[in-house]
Amino acid sequence: MRGIPESWIQRVVAELRRPVRFDEEFDRNVMTAVRSMPRHRYRAWTRVLRPRTITIRPLISAVAAVLLLAITLSLGHAIGTRRASVASGSGDTTDRGGSLRSRPKHPVQFVLVAPTARKVQVVGDFNDWDASHAEYSAQHRGGGVWSVTAAVPEGHHRYSFVVDDSVWVADPTAPRLLDDDFGMPNSALVVEGGDLTR
């Protein structure tokens, strides 16, 4: 600031620092003018198309990405399970966890001659091979004959007798299976619409 005296500069600065006071009328006039201006309305598509600047925090975006991955995996698993149960074959061939368990049941009589037995149970895929089901516990009818009549869903089944909680015995009168993966083979049972076929 060559040539300008310091005192002048100080006077200009002091003048600029002095607060400018407007009267109330001025404020009102300005606001009235602003309100009278046409409003700028954003439509939905304008909001979407309007360019924006987005700030991303690395941690938050990583969390969001992992959450998205987790949700996708969960959905994939759920859809896969659903598809398999619906499409494993032809509509009728759903897994037993689904419709096979809800197939109509028909009474089936299981008979085993076991004169020395103290307890006889029927286990099979229809009761998850669980010998504790009272419904499948055979009664001694006398003369070594044990029998129980239980409801079994329609379809092809594998089953066995469990004698005295320890010995697995295939039904000697039923078709046999050679599924001896765990020792003794099982028996086959085909239940069809009210018709018992063993």
Binding site: A84, G89, G97, L100, D125, R176
Partner: protein, 207 residues
């Protein structure tokens, strides 16, 4: 404040991942009876079956049977894998429209030694004879083999019966008669062939 939000976010992520991992590993709730190593191995086979659009229930059922019989984990996994392979072969032989019962019976028949081509033949012959399902013929064929009838004879016999249009009740009667003959001392193959000839001669009525 930000740190708190990050902790909550990380916690949510961990929970979600844990949930997904648990769902993948746990699979069917009934398999909880198996030890963790066996359960994971069985679930892998079950998932493979699901992806191949094969029924998973027979596999779970096989694992449950093994657990109830006190079989070792290794034996259970081997059995489940074997069944998976048989189910896949059975579907190839019986076609994509095969029901879960047919696949089950087909897998059992394959396990008993019946060749895949015989299953396919049985399907074709049965369709020509107007039979909708081959579950029982396959079950009877498996039974014959289990009672000592040679695989070739068992296949031929069941095919001839299916060709003659035997109903399920006739198949059951045939199986019962052959079993009784064998129990009375008859040669297994001879009993099966003789009873089959009788059933076919009687116009599809088992003797």
């Amino acid at each position: 404040m930000r740190a708190g939000r990050s902790v909550v976010g990380a916690w949510c992520v961990a929970l979600s991942l844990a949930q997904v991992a648990r769902a993948q590993l746990r699979g069917d709730g009934r398999l909880a009876k198996l030890d963790s190593t066996t359960r994971v191995a069985v679930n892998v086979v079950v998932d493979s079956a699901r992806k191949a659009r094969l029924p998973t229930e027979p596999l779970i059922d096989k694992a449950l049977e093994g657990a109830k019989r006190g079989a070792s984990g290794e034996r259970i996994v081997t059995a489940v894998r074997g069944l998976f392979a048989d189910l896949r072969t059975a579907r190839s032989a019986l076609g994509p429209s095969a029901s879960i019962d047919e696949l089950n019976a087909g897998a059992n028949a394959l396990h008993a030694g019946l060749p895949m081509r015989n299953l396919a033949q049985l399907r074709t012959v049965s369709q020509h004879a107007g039979r909708a399902h081959v579950t029982l013929p396959l079950t009877v064929a498996t039974d014959l083999v289990s009672r000592g009838v040679p695989v070739g004879v068992a296949s031929d016999v069941v095919l001839s019966l299916a060709r003659a249009g035997l109903r399920d009740a006739d198949f059951t009667m045939f199986q019962r008669n052959v079993r009784l003959d064998i129990e009375h001392g008859a040669d297994a193959a001879t009993a099966a062939q003789t009873r089959a000839r009788g059933a076919v001669l009687h116009g599809g009525r088992a003797t």
